[in-house]
Symmetry: C2
Subunit: 489 residues, 2 copies
């Protein structure tokens, strides 16, 4: 395989930043807070589509972003032209060198609401500045990986191909969307550049225009078979699937492909009643001696339609999924947030909390760790536990976990082991993490997802996986809440 | 203003292409169809959110794409490694020079279903190849411009600020999404790089983390006021809007800002019951002598919520709109398609049609023109008329238009003038169009939208604007349909 070309390093996305990160930066700088150490957590509050878990994705792109953080002299000139930043702050940006510590849950892991996925610790100007890109990167890819995972599970082992580029929301929506779709479970993509960048398989055959360009549909299929005898997949719905497309396909299989010594690969249907058409096509193909010819479907599919047509007995061998995957159409927003959770003060960590009239918007304070607890025999995931950063879980002692709101709901766990879910990816601004290949992440995601109980995997009304707080963290949170409770009096 | 830095020219997106464009290209090449001239139309079939029209956007990015089309030797090496392309085809790609004619509806124009927005004429390999990027570019930006236009109309003249970067679907989703949002009507964006690239205003103040970082909310507001006395906009919902945020804001207005000789700019609320809170805040600010202090709202807004809270009497001066705009959440897919409509054959144009069992998926054949008909007195848009390319409309004769399906519905138009809606942007591969500035496009969009009758502008159940076919085009389409009707017998 050839060396892959990499478009990623060409782009400096430093200025892809919400303007308020800069006004705050200038404010911190001019209030002598430039060296103030702050801790930020990125987390989300609910799983899209009412699902039970998400698939973490996007960390590799975060690495690129952090590595390339740098203000050009054009950037500084532009910022100066806004007439609101002091020259001292602009000089600080000119000399900017990323020096934060960053931890992240590696890609492919199932993740759950309210647990830290990324933690950034560093000078507040820096740790604040990266908010926009941490969110943009992780929100987008986790959204698509999670959606792909749902769609692939609905397909029940049959291959799902990502082909949504043309309906993606911008170029990166297509490029990184394809990457995330593979992590979530798709077997390949139509997006060529994503194969180049990420070494994930790109595939494709013909559009309706191929069929239209030739004098007849038969001529179009014939020309294709002669060009690609080992990859004969015909799109059969340009005129009429059962009265024209399939008969012409079979004719070309008989007259061209078979004499050449090849078997047909498949037929693709892109419109019409899937269940009816696939059953009818299957019978026509079988009757003609092509029971090995696959039927591929691609028409506004998602997990709901795929489940439905499979339940109805549609005879489909693989699915091409476009716009509803690449935009996560049913719920196209992943609501990850990035919140200040602590600051350093005279060698101690001062936890910070964000209060809200919406209880679910109250944050978990402090510099924290995320542990996943597995059963020692079955290796199934039992619960996640968020602790303060200095807490260690003794695997040899029974562990009592409890619901953070209904605290009388308690569970004693024995015979377990824990996994520290967050890996340090930057150490004082230096990258200390090698991102695995996308195909390795994909395999890892499949393996880790299997460690979730079927109740958590359920599409509708899944069991809520336990994400609990350690006794210490819970107590800290309560004390901060009580501190602010007088505001509500 | 400083020279703007341009990230666009850095990226060659040639390989952002559905793989089947390449397999078809190789197929055309090896079937001696490399010089076959083909005509493709890009169009869409329905307006998102049940609206009456869309706002065309994305043409400037298409110019960049066409100009930069080029295969690097790495691209060729990568394609060779796939083992399905002939060396002759790879050589053709290596020598690739874009030579198509392209016409497009200029950005900012209201556009309607089934009319050509982009037409590409050229060697079929090329005209086919650009499908993915034509769709991706126009679909994305037209989606967001259209959504922004709905949201801004709901805001009823009050300014709307785009601030969705962190929830966008990929980096370009944010960058070009901000561009499209401005075209649709937003007054500014939070996306800094979009100001650099497109000279659109970027704005921003503070996040909750600013408030949390200081020992008290009062300290945080005080530090801000001292840093930005002429831009004092305080985020007041970190702890409690009415019991903490507003009282602290007023205290800082009184104690810091007023003595410095400044007036407050505004307060921002990002959570809670908008109608209740804004009314209460308005009264508190007015009572304290700050009736000129604006109230800015930013919490999961879209056209529906904005209409609703304004109807309830919420006292809001401007809106910050994030995730629901930048992803067009309520309908995040713009279903533009790109279809073969004709080919050249021995100096004549052979029209092509795509049949479908879904009537709305049948295409309009032929190389065409799009005219908009305006009333001579009111300058209001009466109808759009799609004609064959060689048709000229005589403005001095009455024009009879008719419904393309219910052909008995006819209308005779007098006292009108027509506008040729498509502009040539490439002539044999050479760019012949200068894109206006985004702010000019935005102004143009506002002006052109005012030429639509209020019935077409309606949010719910708008009047369907007439998009009719000329007699010649209608007759051609009927004859092609009849040609294929025997398939359905």
């Amino acid at each position: 395989m050839t060396e892959f070309f990499d478009v990623r390093d060409e782009r400096n996305l430093t200025m892809l930043v919400d303007f308020y990160e800069l006004t705050m930066g200038n404010g911190y700088f001019n209030n002598n807070l430039k060296d103030q150490i702050a801790y930020f957590d990125m987390f989300f509050r609910r799983v899209p589509d009412g699902g039970g878990y998400c698939i973490m994705a996007g960390v590799e792109q975060l690495l690129h972003y952090f590595k390339n953080l740098k203000f050009t002299s054009e950037d500084i000139d532009y910022l100066r032209s806004k007439n609101i930043f002091t020259e001292e702050f602009l000089q600080y940006l000119k000399d900017f060198k990323f020096s934060c510590d960053v931890w992240a849950v590696p890609e492919g892991n199932p993740v759950f609401p309210n647990e830290p996925l990324v933690t950034v610790k560093g000078p507040v100007i820096q740790a604040q500045f990266v908010e926009t890109m941490v969110l943009l990167t992780i929100n987008h890819q986790t959204l698509i990986a999670t959606k792909a995972n749902r769609i692939c599970r609905a397909a029940n082992g049959k291959p799902v191909i990502e082909l949504g580029s043309r309906r993606a929301q911008g170029y990166d929506g297509a490029i990184y969307g394809a990457r995330a779709a593979l992590i979530g479970g798709c077997v390949s993509t139509a997006c060529t550049i994503s194969e180049q960048l990420f070494n994930i398989p790109a595939t494709g055959t013909m559009a309706h225009s191929w069929v239209q360009l030739f004098p007849t549909e038969y001529d179009a299929f014939k020309a294709w078979a002669e060009t690609y005898p080992d990859n004969a997949v015909f799109l059969v719905d340009t005129y009429n699937v059962t009265k024209s497309g399939i008969p012409n396909a079979i004719k070309v299989f008989d007259e061209i492909l078979t004499p050449m010594g090849y078997r047909p690969k498949g037929i693709r249907i892109d419109s019409g009643d899937i269940t009816y058409l696939t059953k009818k096509c299957r019978k026509m193909l079988d009757d003609a001696g092509y029971s090995d010819c696959n039927i591929i479907i691609s028409n506004s599919l998602d997990e709901y339609i795929i489940s439905d047509v499979l339940k109805q007995g549609a005879t489909i061998d693989s699915f091409g999924v476009g716009e509803r995957l690449i935009t996560a159409k049913s719920e196209p927003v992943f609501g990850g947030v990035y919140k200040l959770v602590a600051i350093d003060s005279e060698n101690s960590i001062i936890p910070k909390i964000k209060i809200s009239e919406n209880n679910e918007k109250i944050t978990n304070p402090g510099f924290k760790k995320l542990y996943r607890i597995f059963d020692k025999d079955s290796h199934m995931a039992i619960a996640d536990l968020i602790t303060l950063n200095n807490e260690i879980i003794d695997e040899n002692e029974p562990l009592e976990i409890f619901h953070p709101i209904h605290t009388w709901k308690r569970k004693k766990i024995t015979n377990f082991y824990v996994k520290d879910m967050m890996t340090q990816i930057f150490d004082k601004g230096k990258c200390v993490y090698d991102s695995p290949s996308v195909m390795d992440i994909k395999e890892f995601a499949a393996k880790e997802t299997e460690k979730l109980w079927p109740e958590v995997l359920r599409f509708e009304n899944p069991h809520t996986y336990y994400v609990d707080l350690s006794e210490n963290l819970w107590t800290l949170k309560q004390s901060l809440l009580h501190k602010y409770s007088n505001i509500y009096k």
